[in-house]
Amino acid sequence: MELFFQQLTNGLAIGGIYALIALGYTMVYGVLKLINFAHGDLFTLGAYIGFTLLTSMNLIGKIGPLPTLFLFGIIIMGLVGIAGIVLERIAYRPLRSADRLAAVVSALGASIVISNSIMLIYGARFLVYPHHILPNFTINLLGMKIPFMRIAMLLLSIILMIILYLFVQKTRIGTAIRATAIDHGAARLMGIDVNKIISVVFFIGPALGGAAGFMVGLYYGQLNFMMGWMYGLKAFIAAVIGGIGNIPGAMLGGLLLGVIEALGAAYISTSWKDAIAFFVLIIILIVRPTGILGERVADKI
């Protein structure tokens, strides 16, 4: 039983990261119906920018670790967000009225371009974040030892999710985002500046991905130009499990995926872990064809 709970918490911590990346995935998908395969690479970009900031500026000594990380986090979100906007302008906007799959191919191309650019700039070797930036102590919770940072990361993910959810559900821009997601033309007739909304979404989504990259860099410490591909794929799965386009769904999907992986690894086999996760995904979709919290389908003939 203790093993079970320990694995559960492990899974939640991993799932928190998946969820954070899935949030950006899901938002972009919601508005453009685009599977942004480059999202994972924007995540990588966030991690690498974080590396550059941490190694080139010695702010920690001057203003302390937490303010530094906060400041860097904001800078990274800003920069990766801008990269997202640029990506949309160059690779997706010209394809907005084209077949959806054309944009998928463009996204795959963008993924290759971003990851290989990172490789050319930073090299192919693994990079390592400076150590001991984060407080590193474990908390004893019901007999389980849980590193504090894992709880912090999970909380941060949940907080960002709630902020994002409230933003989309309650604010004017959020409503505009939801309307744009359904029908660009009609949204424009309502007086919504659709290009601006898409830019906003392409800022927020990648910014969240960038933040996740920074968190992964800080906590796990190790970077590689290919790292985003796997995270991107997992986030995509998470978003679909939850119901793609749906913000709480992305969160739920991310956490669920993390937990499935952890329990699958614990009770079945570690080398079959990903297969198990995919298997569960397929079962979920067979039972609920649009994911757990899938979009409300209005199927009228």
């Binding site: 939801r178 309307a179 424009r188 919504i192 409300r296 009228k300």
Partner: protein
């Protein structure tokens, strides 16, 4: 109030509108008639700024809006009830109405407008939390009209509002248009239902394949033999 001069619109290489002139004065109801594919919807979409003309100008309230983006045009007070309704299917009735009022920032005005909409269409009030996509055709049309009114427009463009409505509703829609007009909203109405439209309108235009072929007082058009033959069933 609205003045369209020498408007040309192209889809790709094909020109759909070949230079038309339309004038709408404040307080009027102006109707555009025409067969399928004549270019009526295209004209309305161009006024709303969703399609950019290749030539010509559109002036609204003395300001040239030809090059303005769609959202600015809505802000200036032109709103449209589009062809095919274009509702936000996966949002509720209420959320659709809120979106209609996107350009309005004042909460009280929004509330007031919403109440007015519900009084025009009590059916919508019953279904305020139903998803727009699952409404029946007629209910959707009501919602589309109500949504178009939510932004306090000065000029309302309506593209075939009676399409697919029960006769009793067609009547009430035309009544509603009258009411809306009386409350000070100028209306530019595109209709297939020529008789009803001309009865309502002050003036009318007849479009054929991208050109205006006739323009007159509505009463005169109703009696015009040409119009009678082509659009009024003899």
């Amino acid at each position: 109030m609205l003045e369209i001069k020498n408007l040309h619109v192209k889809y790709g290489y094909i020109e759909a509108i070949h230079g038309i002139d339309i004038k709408v004065s404040k307080g009027e109801i102006v109707s555009i008639l025409g067969a399928n594919g004549a270019g009526k919807s295209t004209t309305l979409m161009t006024i709303s700024g969703l399609i950019k003309p290749s030539e010509g100008s559109i002036v609204f309230d003395g300001q040239d809006i030809t090059k303005l983006p769609a959202n600015k045009i809505v802000e200036m007070g032109i709103s449209q009830v589009p062809e095919g309704r274009r509702l936000f299917d996966t949002l509720t009735v209420e959320e659709n109405l809120d979106l209609g009022a996107f350009t309005i920032k004042d909460k009280n005005t929004i509330k007031k407008n919403k109440e007015w909409s519900y009084s025009l269409f009590p059916r919508l009030k019953e279904r305020r939390n139903q998803l727009a996509g699952t409404l029946s055709g007629g209910e959707q049309q009501m919602l589309a009209i109500a949504r178009g009114l939510m932004s306090n427009p000065r000029l309302l463009l309506m593209d075939e509002p009676s399409l697919g409505l029960a006769p009793i509703l067609v009547k009430s829609i035309f009544e509603t248009i009258k009411t809306i007009n009386k409350s000070g909203v100028t209306v530019l109405l595109v209709e297939q239902n020529a008789k009803a439209a001309l009865k309502l309108a002050n003036r009318g235009y007849v479009m054929e394949v991208g050109k205006i072929v006739l323009e007159d007082e509505a009463n005169n058009l109703l009696t015009n033999p040409q119009v009678r033959k082509a659009y009024l069933g003899g």
